[in-house]
Amino acid sequence: MEDQEILLKFREPATRNVAFNQLVRKYQSKVYWHVRKMVIDHDDADDLTQDVFIKVWNHLENFRQDASLFTWIYRIATNECLNFLSSKRRKFFLPLNDVGAELTQKLEADDSLAGDEVEKKLQKAILRLPDKQRLVFNLRYYEDMPYEQMAEVTGTSVGALKASYHHAVKKIEQYVNDTTD
């Protein structure tokens, strides 16, 4: 079902639930992985993904279509992730690096990196980045999202995003080189 059709059906009370069900099915995987890459833990990602769609339900009627539905949902997901990480830091009085360390522990517990030392260092380096820079890196490196769309999702200028991604790459390369014997 196309986004426009989903929106039209959502505005009709009789077809609202069907339309929303279709919307969740269409975007759940993208939203989940977008969130998962930021919070690493599946349970946290699950909670946040549900929260994202609840917010979508609550505000979809007022969605003005200035951006595409996908971009709008991604923006909600991004804000949820950043708020989650920020509140976690406040809750446990953690500095920036400690959240990265916690995420690294979760990643290592995942056991998906066994045997690949360079990839392990790369992931550790990514998790050491500040939240917003990591978000930019994920969108560009893993999802290959155009900078213009990233600007809509993050509410940041294209120039600032390019600079942020460039710095992130430099930091990652520096970390991997420094930790390699």
């Binding site: 929303f20 989940y32 890459k37 549900q50 990643l107 056991d111 390369e173």
Partner: protein
Amino acid sequence: MKTPFRLNEHPRRPAPPLAPPPEDYFDKLPLRVMQRVRPQEPAAAPLLGWLTALSAPLRTALASLLLLVGFVGTFWLTQRALPQSGAPLAATRQSSAQALAAVPRAEAVQYLLSDEAARLSLAELSETTVADHDLTSAFLPATDAEIQAALDEQPSVDVYL
């Protein structure tokens, strides 16, 4: 010599190496989301449903306005209940004086000399005197000789304030 790591030379994965979610996770997720959004539908009361359509700042502003109206209304009603001029106060004083004048003189003297009168504190008497000097003379419309005689009858061991 080791080759420095370059990210663009590293094989790019489509996603970080994270374990996939449970197998039926994406089959069940829409249902779980729908279960969380459905109970909210009847939550809005018919009369107050329009409130949910307002934005949060607008709802806060409305609540503040209602609170302000409540304060102003209470103040206005309180002002209406209070006397607007000195006339009703004067009428009250006059009726009090008349009521006191109606008390027989002997009974008033007897009351003042009794134990009950001793319960009055000096502060109370002084306040009454300060409030209205004429009022005290209305309490005891007796001659000096009558008062002196009544006082002389009191036992000398009594202590007066």
